[in-house]
């Protein structure tokens, strides 16, 4: 393990990689602070640009954007009560209350230090667990891959906000979109409607920028801006001794929760922070202080979301399966570089794998330095008016899509997805399950076909192989868990009439 980490250090420690890591975390912080521009859109826009970079450098920068956004998101959550990212919604509850009572500095410092601690631990965890999981991956047949991806989709579906049935619909829609283009096995053209440009399928960047970049702008233009920045000067940045004493157990627990939940398919930063907040409130001797500026309510979730963000790389790097929309972008980046995601990455590209892991730790250290002393500068970013911001995002989306194919056709496709995404947002549908299932669709189909070929056309193979059976049972149980209350509730409603 030490050798591996040293190899990673030599890869991540080159000036070029350090530089792009820095660019990544800076960009991540900025978009984390700016509301209405998330890591998925940013990473997708930058994806075509990474084509010209060496593979490790590209991945290091993209990963930096992801965890940098977690930091940036918590800064605005605390100071402005405006969570830049979904994963910092929880932080806003107690963090903003702390800021209102003049403890903004302490909240920011605890959030940053907790995140750093969590980042360090989960880096170690990936380093330790990664090789083990790769061994597990060797006993994985297409059968198990299929079942695992089904479980991943189920997790992502039930974790989405709002109605479960709508999210299931989004998942099917994504799977359907993933079948556009020529069929891998037979080369048969499907759903191309005569457009030759579609024969390679819908491009990931096109779909992601349309849904997450432009549809978001349409949505944001409806809501007039309302921002109330805490204008008091941040006097004391360092938390007091009592605050430290209160915070550190929460940091440790948050890290543990995030590391576990992050590795689950469909898990990641958002789920981890919610779980940690609930736990802290349950364990606390003064649960009534939560929601009124309890430092544990900042420390726990902030550590958890960072640990979760990094642990989400474990299934990606060891099994090649993205566990959330951001990881789906990373898959796209790997494919652009001509690297097939999967267990082979670790053995065939050890420098890439370990370099990425070590860079996450370095990036976390950079974020600590970037964030704490420069908080005032970041807050000023919030004053950028939206009417100057959205045309920039729009143009970058167009350029990003154009550069991936040198073809203006896909810009028009992106506009269609923007409109579609806006309609779905209007109908209160969650777009993340759609994007994830869109990416997984070709993999699911291929593994389904291969599994059935291996079993000579016997569909029972999915339940007779133990690991596959276990995964499918987990998927069914999870679905039942969320669907039962739904059915009960509808029944209650029906009886109430």
């Amino acid at each position: 393990m030490i050798d591996n980490l040293l190899l990673g250090l030599s890869e991540a420690g080159t000036w070029m990689n350090l530089g792009f890591c820095f660019i990544g975390v800076m960009l991540g912080t900025v978009i984390g602070i700016l509301p209405g521009l998330g890591p998925v859109a940013t990473m997708s826009i930058l994806l075509p640009i990474t084509f010209g970079l060496p593979a490790p450098t590209a991945l290091i920068m993209l990963a930096g954007i992801y965890y940098g956004a977690q930091y940036g998101g918590s800064t605005t959550a605390i100071l402005v009560n405006l969570p830049g990212e979904a994963s910092s919604v929880i932080t806003a509850i107690d963090g903003y209350k702390m800021a209102l009572s003049g403890r903004a500095g302490a909240a920011l410092a605890i959030a940053a230090l907790g995140s750093f601690f969590a980042g360090t631990v989960s880096t170690m965890l990936i380093a330790a667990l990664g090789p083990l999981l790769t061994k597990l991956a060797q006993v994985f047949w297409p059968t198990e891959y299929f079942s695992l991806m089904v479980l991943g989709l189920v997790c992502c579906t039930i974790l989405a906000h709002g109605s479960v049935i709508k999210s299931i619909g989004m998942t099917f829609l994504g799977l359907a979109l993933g079948t556009v283009g020529s069929d891998v096995t037979s080369g048969y053209l499907r759903f191309t409607f005569g457009f030759i440009d579609l024969s390679d399928g819908l491009d990931f960047v096109t779909v992601a920028t349309g849904l997450f970049g432009i549809a978001e702008i349409l949505r944001n233009l409806e809501n007039p801006e309302r921002r109330s920045i805490v204008t008091q000067r941040i006097s004391r940045l360092w938390p007091s001794k009592t605050e430290f004493a209160q915070a550190w157990p929460a940091v440790v627990r948050g890290t543990a929760i995030g590391s576990i939940l992050g590795t689950l398919p469909g898990g990641g930063a958002t789920l981890s922070s919610f779980a940690s907040y609930t736990l802290e409130k349950k364990l606390s001797a003064h649960p009534e202080k939560f929601g009124k500026g309890a430092i544990e309510g900042v420390a726990g979730p902030e550590s958890a979301n960072n640990a979760g963000a990094q642990a989400a790389f474990i299934p990606l790097l060891s099994l090649g399966i993205p566990s959330n929309a951001v990881m789906a972008v990373m898959i796209g980046a790997l494919m652009i570089q001509g690297i097939a995601p999967g267990p082979m990455v670790m053995s065939q590209q050890p420098a890439l794998f370990w370099g990425l892991i070590v860079s996450m730790w370095i990036g976390n250290a950079m974020l600590l330095v970037i964030n704490l002393p420069m908080v005032g500068l970041w807050v000023r970013l919030l004053k950028v008016p939206y009417d100057l911001l959205y045309p920039v995002v729009l143009i970058f989306c167009c350029i990003g899509v154009y550069t991936i194919s040198n073809n203006t056709f896909f810009i028009i496709v992106m506009a269609c997805f923007a409109l579609g995404g806006y309609i779905l947002l209007k109908l209160e549908c969650e777009l993340a399950p759609l994007l994830l299932s869109f990416v997984l669709s070709p993999l699911i189909e291929e593994n389904l076909r291969r599994a059935l070929l291996l079993s000579r056309g016997d569909p029972m193979t999915f339940v007779t192989r133990p690991i596959s059976l276990g995964l499918l049972i987990a998927a069914v149980l999870l679905l039942a868990m969320v669907c039962l209350p739904y059915i009960n509730r509808t029944r209650e409603k029906a009886f109430a009439e």
Partner: protein, 149 residues
Amino acid sequence: MKRVMLRNPQDTVLSVIFIAIGLGGLVISLGYPMGTLLRMGPGYFPSIIFSGLILVGIIVAIGSLRFDGPRLEAWNWRAIIFLLGSVLVFALLMRPLGFIAAIVLSVFVSGLAHSPFRPIRILLLGCGLALASALIFVTALGLPIRLWP
């Protein structure tokens, strides 16, 4: 008074979308070679997916007829028209007019989506953005894009 019948217009519309896409997709994929369970043809997997979509659509439809839900929100037509319009402007003009002009024009059109519309401000933004993008994407990253007509 047909509108009163819809207890949950949002979900009704969504279910219509699901079922329409599902039916359309199913009809098309049934036209592709099916194959067998052992050797699936290109039509097999999509048929399953679109059937699933239809099923979800039916469930949403039943739910929307039985329970009250939120009404449809008003659409921001101005944003839709000008924002998507500006994307089209960029897509259609960048080949004939070049990168710089396409960006300036496209930013200008996108500015119309915001109220109040400030022409001078948006024009300056467009010029600045065109310059910056040319420097970043063409000069620094060396992407093969033509800057001028």
